[in-house]
């Protein structure tokens, strides 16, 4: 259960977020929508520990929580998958999967990478949620959907309580989108993971989320169940 109370963020005179509050039950998916500059990414970055809010509080399971850094947030159980930028194109899939948390084995007094194990675990993890993928390829060779699956699966592997996804779907074509939606539904169901998804794709958000929040100019314009609002109404809230 996440409770966000009066979160604000300003950069000098520029107000990115203004008194945004909402509650999200465990295991539910929140679709965060809004026009460019509405503050969606800012809010997500605050939740992931990448930015510090100028005001307001965040409560996780009733406890006041503060993240000083993404690493901090990761420890608490928040994982974020960014807009497909967070893969190293020149590195292999398994390297991308384990970056920052590489598996090692001891040979004598020294620690070496356990490459075989990492390849195996990566293949297993990906197979759990989607179609098979050759983990020995460079990440740059993958399609948009595959990159997305890697990024999200990687975020999931940390067993997060809360998964944040930022604009991760922009490049996907129609067929790929269905793959992703099914994939994310699986992830949400299987792990009972709370999710906050930022997207410009209203159809996708409508299909995937339990709740929708519309931001405009840093302010919350609407928060409610997905089935309580139509796409037209969402758009009307989004635009001035």
């Amino acid at each position: 259960m996440i409770q966000v109370r009066n979160i604000s963020k300003n950069y000098g005179t520029v107000i990115a977020l203004s008194n945004v509050s909402f509650e999200l039950e465990r295991g539910k998916i929140l679709g965060l929508v809004g026009d460019n500059g509405a503050g969606k990414s800012t809010l997500l970055k605050i939740l992931s520990g990448d930015l510090q809010p100028s005001g307001g509080e965040i409560y996780l399971e009733g406890r006041r929580t503060r993240f000083k850094s993404p690493a901090d947030a990761m420890k608490i159980g928040i994982a974020i998958a960014y807009q497909f930028l967070e893969l190293v194109d020149s590195a292999m899939v398994w390297e991308n999967f384990f970056m920052g948390r590489e598996r090692t084995k001891r040979i004598g007094p020294l620690l070496f990478l356990d490459i075989g194990k990492m390849k195996q675990l990566t293949a297993d993890a990906i197979a759990k949620y989607g179609p098979e993928l050759d983990v020995d390829r460079e990440a740059g060779e993958l399609s948009g959907e595959q990159r997305q699956i890697i990024a999200v699966t990687r975020a999931i592997e940390a067993n997060p309580e809360i998964l944040l996804l930022d604009e991760s779907f922009t490049l996907l074509y129609l067929e790929g989108r269905k793959e992703i939606v099914d994939f994310l539904k699986e992830v949400n169901k299987k792990g009972d993971i709370t999710m906050v998804i930022v997207s410009h794709d209203l159809d996708l958000v409508k299909e995937l989320s339990h709740f929708i929040m519309v931001l405009r100019g840093g302010e919350k314009m609407f928060f409610g169940r997905t089935d309580e609002i139509s796409i037209d109404e969402i758009v009307r809230y989004m635009l001035p």
Binding site: D50, P70, A71, M74, I80, Y82, L85, E86, L87, V88, D89, S90, A91, E95, N96, M99, G100, R101, E102, T104, L110, L111, F112, L113, I115, G140
Partner: protein, 320 residues
Amino acid sequence: MKLARYLLGAVRTNLVEYYTWLLFVGIYLVMGIFVPTIFRTAILLNVLVQGTTVCLLSIGMTFVMLVGEIDLSIVAAAAFAPMAGIISWEMGFPVPVAILLTFLIGGVIGLFNGLMITKLRIPSLVQTVAMWWMLEGIVLIVTRGVAKAGLPNAWMVLGRIFIGPIPLLVFFFIIVVIVAVIFARRTVTGRRLYLVGGNREACSAMGIPVNRIRIISFMISGLFGAIAGYVSSSRMGFISSSFAVEWLMPAIAAPVIAGVSLTGGRGNFINVIAGAYLVQLIVMVVRAGGVSGYFTEFVQGLLVFIAILVNAGRQRVIGR
């Protein structure tokens, strides 16, 4: 039949990946047509031994290129560190300590570079040029332009003791190279150099200490500069302030020839070795051929140019 096909496939993949060696052997053979003497053992040995200097410098440079930076001060470290080491010996420290100090100083130079570049956000090009001038300047001031000779026997061990026709320094060099390759390919920090060079933001987001990795890359290049300087001094018997200045461009050319990406994230050390020896070979042949030394630079530049073209063509073939 399947075995043959598999072997052929493996050979082809390796040829593509280690193409720099192909280039090296190819050019060696071609040169041999014009200058058959280069196939003589004595010459081969000469190339092998003398090439260790540019090779060590190239490897050091590669570590920094992996994270998308450059270290122009590596040649200055190659002059300054051994000089400081010898001075410490003159001050009374035993030779082994002086040698260790040499390596340590190389690392410290790198540490300083790394800190300036990460904390003060000074571009590596600017920082390392400044460091290069400063260090060269200090060496000149201290040596007054005169090479430091009279190095103790213990210091000269690598260059003076032979196993058969091969000086100890070659074995030392091989060990250093093996350690470097294992480090780059099989350790967490080594691999992270590639990752940071490939996408800094991604690494940051995944909790990899990007600045620390960058600083480490400079410490490694500083260390390799010091090692190159030490090995060279043990061979030549003196430390000169003008040492290695002529090796800066080759130290950059070799990784480029080997396909190391200047923007970071890609680099095969085995190829860098071939690239370094290729450059060394060309330098030696041009000089031995009695052609004016100025030609060397032109040829090197031409080689780098060709290497860039070959690399671009190769990437097209692979489909990157």
